[in-house]
Amino acid sequence: MARDLSVRIGTLELPNPLISASGCFGYGLEYEDVTDLSALGGVCVKGLFLTEREGHAPPRIVETPAGMINAIGLQGIGVHRFVKEKLPLLRERGARVFVNVCGTTIDEYAEVTRILTDAGGVAAIELNISCPNIKEGGIQFGCSLLGTGQVVEAVRKVTHLPVIPKLTPNVTDVASFARAAEDAGADAVSLVNTFLALAIDVETRRPTITNVLGGLSGPAIRPIAVRMVWECAREVKIPIIGMGGITNARDALEFILAGATAVQIGTANFVDPFVWGKVLDGIDDYMARHQVERLSDLIGAFDPTPPKVVHR
């Protein structure tokens, strides 16, 4: 590709804007058979606490129209095992590793971040303050402007790595959370995490998943997510990592035009693990057709004046 697809998030340069969404790509290594991990802009791994977690009892997912609800409950190997077992392999594969950091307290966020920073080889810290599925999973911080600022500040103190709080869409005014994050020293924000949702099995009158509530992801939520990215882009100067229902190049470009510097792909990766190359090719093709040399010229290029419509 002659065109320049690279983007910058703080001091971090990514060869392209495509990052795997946390919780949708395991620890990355699960996919090395089907994807060259170094070819992705970044690999964001499953949410990590200080210690191992078992997660919720199955069933953990249920499909809904153009989407799915999940309540995995952040099953994970904890930061120590991650640093020992996964990080060296990910580095070897040339992946730019984003770690989705979870915590039940502000101290835990800071401690997990410190361990990852000390370990070396991590590209960025994504702060999961928005997981809707577990009570002690950080959503208490993500739903409060004060809490959001406090987590970011605490983490900011212990790392030089880019700090990227991940915002929840389950709030009235997401842009104010982006602003709180920026004010507290975040290098970027990512959004959206999933929408709190419920699917009832009417035959049994019971929940479809054990945790009752879960998070809605997939194409269904894309129009809401794009709106939120646009709102945040108008509110803050720091880069935005956009996600929610991206399945192809068109969808990715929608987020980029709305103001996202990079995008994450989650659910679509389940449907098609080869989605990465297809989206990248599609973006390149779009740039060729529109004679865009640098992808960064497309960031925020959405023009909100009314469409010129030719009613056929």
């Binding site: 699960e30 997660g55 009892a57 129209p65 153009a66 099953q75 389940f270």
Partner: protein
């Protein structure tokens, strides 16, 4: 072998009953590398309202005269939207087919017989397994249960292959009246410990019962579990099953990559 994603064409749709059919897909490359017990994740292109793929055992691997795999089939049972679409599929329809995926059945140790225990659509992995076992000269039994005689499929095939058949039906219309565990329990009685490798596939209550019977008779047993799968590749952690090694702490492991085939004695049944 990394899994392939083949944009397969439906080559044949053979209805077996009101609920069952066999769908042949032009995914020979997937078949070429499939080991009995593995599965594919499929998504018909012509469907109205589903997003995720669904897991299916590879049933047959079809081969040309030279032995090259040309297609696979899946044994499909109507249970919801995808399986309905696969039941209704027409020749020429497209079905995205990703595989082979997951852990296969372990071959029996030297001197062991092989007993395959199938409940309903749980027959699916045993076509390829039987081929493999018979080719290796291993005495093979299929204990196969269904709701009724009309839902016992492919008996000729297994007979021709030289597989000993033990049949049960819930309504007594063919074979023994009742569940597969009845003949299994009876016939395992008095057999030397470790002399028979038991393979099971079917509803989980059946798997649990089979594992229990096998353990009681000191026979090794592998079961193939069927959890809701989001991705089939270890990405989503939706498909977990609780597993305990020896006296260790039970852990949730992903059945799509650590399974779907597990040592029956290691599963902690909910």
């Amino acid at each position: 072998m990394p899994p392939l994603d083949v944009d397969a064409t439906v080559l044949e749709n053979r209805p077996l009953s009101r609920d069952y059919n066999v769908l042949t897909l032009s995914a020979g490359d997937v078949g070429a590398h499939t080991v009995a017990g593995q599965f594919v994740m499929v998504r018909p292109a012509t469907m109205t309202d589903t997003l995720l793929r669904r897991p299916f055992s590879v049933f047959e691997v079809l081969r040309d005269a030279a032995g090259t795999a040309t297609a696979i089939s899946i044994l499909n049972k109507r249970a919801g939207r995808t399986t309905q679409a696969l039941y209704d599929a027409r020749v020429g329809d497209r079905v995205a087919t990703l595989g082979p995926l997951g852990r296969a059945y372990t071959p029996p140790s030297t001197g062991q017989e092989a007993w395959m225990v199938a409940g309903g659509v749980g027959l699916a992995p045993f076509w390829t397994l039987a081929m493999r076992l018979v080719a290796a000269g291993i005495p093979t039994t299929l204990i196969y249960g269904a709701r009724s005689g009309a839902e016992l499929f492919y008996l000729d095939f297994f007979e021709r292959l030289g597989v000993r058949l033990v049949l049960t039906t819930e309504d007594g219309s063919r074979g023994e009246h009742g569940r597969v565990t009845l003949p299994l329990d009876r016939e395992l009685a008095g057999r030397d410990p470790q002399s028979i490798m038991v393979y099971a596939c079917g509803p989980e209550p059946m798997l649990e019962a089979v594992a229990h019977v096998a353990t009681r008779h000191h026979q090794p047993c592998e079961v193939s579990v069927e959890r809701t799968m989001g991705c089939g590749l270890g990405g989503c952690y939706s498909c977990v099953v609780k597993v305990q090694h020896g006296t260790g702490t039970p852990h949730y492991v992903r059945s799509c990559i650590s399974g779907p085939v597990f040592d029956g004695a290691e599963i902690v049944w909910d």
